[in-house]
């Protein structure tokens, strides 16, 4: 019976091509816009740390004085970071910030270029499950005693050394030679949650050097620096001892117990610092451990406007549906005499209802397919015209399945009333032909 209904539905659609095209268009535009906003929302809502997201914690300290900003800072001071690095409770931990360096190898054919470099600890790679192809992170000894060692991405290795396995080779950063100790596979968490500061959907860095080198090399900070009081900042040393915050700190805390212990440890540190005249906002000075979800929220990676955008486009879809409802009603009622005949010769209301719902579903499916095209086009326009991040505008794979479902569901919703009306009509009225 289903295929009979399908056949009838398809014929009906072809019989009134303009009306059908209008309905398909209406659905597709509604769906296209909904899917576009849903895609943006989904990419933004995606939690990149997956099952580790409630173990990884960014450490936030309320170190600023009173009457400054009224929230935990996302970045901490260098001196606090240095203390946190001595902690023994986390399974892994890393301080980090971003810098930029001129990159060069011994290969004269490859021109030097300026690239982002992540300055961090060896714990970074296990914290964020960075996949190594060759070698590995530098040793923990290097975290204490600076060495010119570097971890690079596959693409960088290919470009500067013409091979993937470049462990042992030398790469120059601002003319200083670094020995490659590890090569990682393509790794690009989206959003870039470990440091969303300058663009949460930017690409991850593919060059990593030891944090312990910072005071030696005086890496410039390619990120935010927050201050709340006047401090002379002449030398790099001034920055290191200042109250300016500019370092991110992540810790892997396995369970509630670990979190409690860690919090207590940091709180006692804060108390001790207060005796030395720091953490002057005594009422509020504290630590906040933000897991990944919380961290994304704190950094406004999941903005409320996204939800509003989705809601608005769903509303728009509703408007389209109301239109389609009207068109369907007209179309179905025009067919009342035929339905009368079908009823007379043995179709039950249920069968008439089913036949029309199948036709509506077909329209929905066509609308969904076209809507997917709209969404695809729309996302491309967004990328090209408005320079949105690539990650946002890649159509999420699951949407290829979700879209037809939404389209069919929407069409079924719009078709419910017209199909109900037509299946309730009194057949005899249309058979009393004079």
């Amino acid at each position: 019976m289903f295929f009979y209904y399908l056949d009838m539905g398809w014929r009906s659609i072809r019989k009134t091509p303009v009306l059908s095209a209008l309905m398909v268009l209406a659905i597709s535009i509604g769906i296209g816009i909904t899917i576009t906003s849903l895609n943006i929302y989904q990419v933004m809502a995606f939690n990149p740390a997956a099952e580790r997201s409630d173990q990884l914690h960014a450490v936030q300290l309320w170190s600023q004085g009173p009457d400054t900003w009224d929230d935990y800072s996302t970045i901490i001071t260098y001196q606090d970071a240095m203390h946190l690095r001595t902690g023994a409770i986390p399974r892994a931990q890393a301080a980090m910030f971003r810098t930029g360096q001129a990159i060069q190898s011994d290969n004269p054919d490859v021109l030097p270029e300026l690239r982002s470099v992540r300055v961090t600890d060896s714990g970074f790679f296990s914290l964020f499950s960075v996949p190594f192809l060759h070698g590995g992170a530098w040793t923990e000894v290097v975290d204490q005693q600076p060495a010119y060692e570097i971890v690079i991405g596959k693409a960088v290795s290919q470009k500067y050394f013409g091979k993937v396995n470049s462990v042992g080779e030398v790469l120059y950063l601002n003319r200083k030679p670094y020995q490659v100790v590890g090569v990682i596979d393509d790794w690009n968490p989206s959003p870039k949650y470990y440091d969303p500061t300058n663009g949460s959907f930017n690409d991850a860095e593919s060059l990593f050097v030891p944090f312990s080198l910072a005071p030696v090399e005086e890496f410039a900070v390619w990120g935010n620096t927050n201050g709340w009081q006047f401090e002379p900042m002449v030398t790099y040393g001034d920055r290191l001892v200042s109250e300016k915050s500019w370092v991110l700190f992540w810790a892997d805390l396995a369970d509630e117990q670990a979190r409690e212990d860690y919090r207590a440890w940091i709180q006692s540190y804060i108390e001790q610092q207060q005796e030395m005249g720091r953490f002057t906002d005594t009422a509020k000075a504290d630590v906040q451990l933000a897991d990944v979800a919380k961290w994304l929220e704190v950094n406004k990676v999941l903005r409320k406007d996204n939800k509003i955008l989705v809601a608005l486009s769903a509303l728009f879809l509703c408007v389209c549906l109301v239109n389609i409802l009207g068109l369907l009603l007209t179309k179905f009622l025009k067919r009342a005499p035929e339905v009368g005949v079908r009823r007379a010769i043995g179709a039950s209301r249920r069968q008439i209802f089913a036949q029309h719902m199948v036709e509506v579903t077909l329209i929905g499916l066509l609308g969904g397919a076209l809507g997917l095209l709209w969404a695809w086009g729309l996302l491309h326009v967004l990328t090209e015209r408005f320079h949105m991040d690539d990650a946002l505008t890649r159509l999420d794979a699951t949407l290829w399945f979700i879209t037809p479902s939404i389209a069919m569901g929407a069409a079924l919703l719009a078709g419910l009333y017209p199909a109900w009306v037509i299946c309730r009509t009194q057949p005899s009225v249309y058979l009393k032909s004079q």
Binding site: M1, Y4, R11, K15, P337, E338, G340, V341, R342, R343, A344, I345, G346, A347, S348, R349, R350, Q351, Q426, P427, S428, L431, K432, S433
Partner: protein, 238 residues
């Protein structure tokens, strides 16, 4: 076979109340060919619609094949229409987008026959009405008489016990009308009970039994030669 006792049917509109059938009584036995006549607006079509379960009624008792059908569900009445009753309308009422074979197939689809059985029955029905070669034609490509024969084929395909025909010859010229009438007579010979509404006195005269409806009531009289054999009717003078 068909037994209506004191059936009343009232159409209620905002302004008027129309008593289309009032205290309507009729018995039809298996194998009969009943011709229903009567003035326009007297309730003939309403009677057929009630008889064919296309409309309900306000009062009375209706037994079809011994089954009380006054309160069957929609599903059930659809099944009865599909299996037991064939409809023929004045306006043919073929579905214009479906070709002849597909039109005849419609009731068989709802019956749930497989494609082989449908094909067999469609061909057989078309042969019965003498249109076997026109399987793929669309209804508008045929003359009125041919369309009515297709409609009859559609009604026959389900092999119904009952054929309800509402002025089947009303839109046809007299030659075609006679052909259709002959076809119906043949079908009746083969055992199908037929109730036919007509205006045509010549056709009415040919019938085994003639029922006249006046003002929503039966005024039954049988043709002379059959009067002795049909005694099962309860007649109420108008």
């Amino acid at each position: 076979m068909l037994s209506m006792k004191n059936i009343s049917k009232v159409y209620q509109s905002e302004l008027v109340e129309t008593h289309a059938l009032r205290e309507f009584n009729l018995q039809v036995s298996e194998g009969e060919f009943v011709v229903v006549t009567g003035p326009s607006g007297s309730g003939k079509t309403t009677f057929l619609n009630v008889a064919g379960l296309l409309e309900g009624f306000s009062q009375g008792e209706y037994l079809l094949d011994g089954v009380d059908v006054s309160s069957v569900s929609d599903n059930e009445s659809a099944r009865i229409r599909n299996e037991k009753i064939g409809f023929i309308f004045q306006g043919f009422n073929l579905i214009p987008d479906l070709n002849l074979a597909e039109n005849i197939e419609v009731p068989l689809r709802y019956r749930g026959f497989d494609s082989k059985e449908r094909k067999r029955r469609v061909e057989q029905a078309l042969e019965q009405v003498g249109l076997a070669s026109r399987l793929k034609h669309l209804p508008p490509q045929l003359s009125g008489g041919q369309q009515q024969r297709v409609a009859i084929a559609r009604a026959l395909a389900g092999e119904p016990r009952f054929l309800l025909a509402d002025e089947p010859t009303g839109n046809l010229d007299s030659l075609m009308a006679r052909q259709v009438m002959e076809l119906l007579e043949n079908i009746n010979q083969a055992g199908t009970t037929i109730i036919m509404v007509t205006h045509d006195p010549e056709l009415a005269r040919r019938a085994q039994r003639n029922v006249q409806i006046v003002d929503g009531q039966v005024c039954d009289f049988t043709s002379y030669q059959k009067s002795r054999s049909t005694t099962s009717t309860t007649a109420e003078p108008a």
